[in-house]
């Protein structure tokens, strides 16, 4: 078996891990801390690298678990702060920051609810800025299918946003 090198095999996973952590925490600083913690933990287990089936899968699981743990802690704190906020209206700053994250998480949940193909296409287009042609080639479908799926995905997300709006402002 080829010997695993930290620099060449593990460190290059950092951006992949960062994307995973970012999509769970929706906080860049926290996501970065999580990637760092993951890589240090993996480094400290270097005697076990060769007995692992996939070092990448191992790193991804570690990052995911750390991010979920952190989010649960954060959610608990949000509740606390929301209660405080209800009582003291002036100190709105930490509340707003947390609310921003909550909003991003809400949109993320909307995206997660889409069928796989629709979600992948919308991500490739709206986040990665890929052309219809590039998406069609990557997914081995026609450009027409890309357009139809993108249309459906955006319509569903729009409905979700309107639902959230109605929930937030039921009196309107």
């Amino acid at each position: 078996m080829k010997e695993i090198s930290f620099r060449d095999d593990i460190l290059p996973l950092k951006d992949k891990l960062f994307r995973v952590a970012l999509r769970i925490t929706f906080d860049r600083a926290e996501a970065e801390d999580i990637v760092q913690e993951t890589l240090i933990k993996v480094w400290n287990k270097r005697e076990e690298w060769n007995s692992l089936e996939s070092i990448e899968a191992y790193c991804l699981t570690l990052t995911k678990n750390l991010a979920i743990d952190l989010r649960e802690k954060m959610d608990a704190r949000t509740e606390e702060l929301t209660e405080q906020h209800d009582r003291t209206q002036d100190d709105a700053n930490p509340y707003e920051e947390l609310e921003q994250k909550e909003r991003l998480m809400w949109v993320h949940r909307l995206m997660e609810e889409l069928p796989d193909k629709q979600r992948t296409i919308m991500q490739m287009r709206d986040i990665e800025e890929k052309s219809y042609k590039e998406i069609a080639q990557a997914l081995d479908i026609t450009e027409e299918q890309v357009k139809i799926n993108l249309f459906r995905a955006r319509q569903k997300v729009k409905q979700g946003l309107l639902r959230l709006d109605a929930y937030e402002r039921p009196t309107n």
Partner: protein
Amino acid sequence: MNAQQIEHLLQRYWDGETTVDEERQLRQFFNGDHVPQHLLRYKDLFVYEEFLQHDHLGEDFDERLLKQVEMPVVKAKSVSIFSRLAPIAKAAAAVTMLLALGNLAERTLLQDYHQMAVNDTIGQQITSPSVALGDDAEGGELQVKDSLSRQLKTIEQQESIKK
């Protein structure tokens, strides 16, 4: 861009008819501070898209991490002449060392070898007297190898003695 233009662009976005560039304009607009009240409900989506576009770690991440795992950080530019020549100097030192050791080992081993050669000669005389005998008796004839022909030879020798 005024609200009317944005509404028009937004409609085309939902219908999947905007270009990549127009979608960029929408993200820019909705991430700004001047989103009209009636369009705020769509803001989160474009903030989300913009947020996830910046999904790379800072350039100093590697350095900070490698410091923590106690690995030296490799920097291509900051190699001094001394450290560049260091491998050659090390190699030269190693070769010199090997030569010196080789010389020393050669002397010691040769000494041993001479002693062993002497021992061997003595040992041969003790363990295989027949060869010496044969040489003496036959006067440089072919060496006798198996025991049968050695026995035959002994008989011959005995006969020649009798004569």
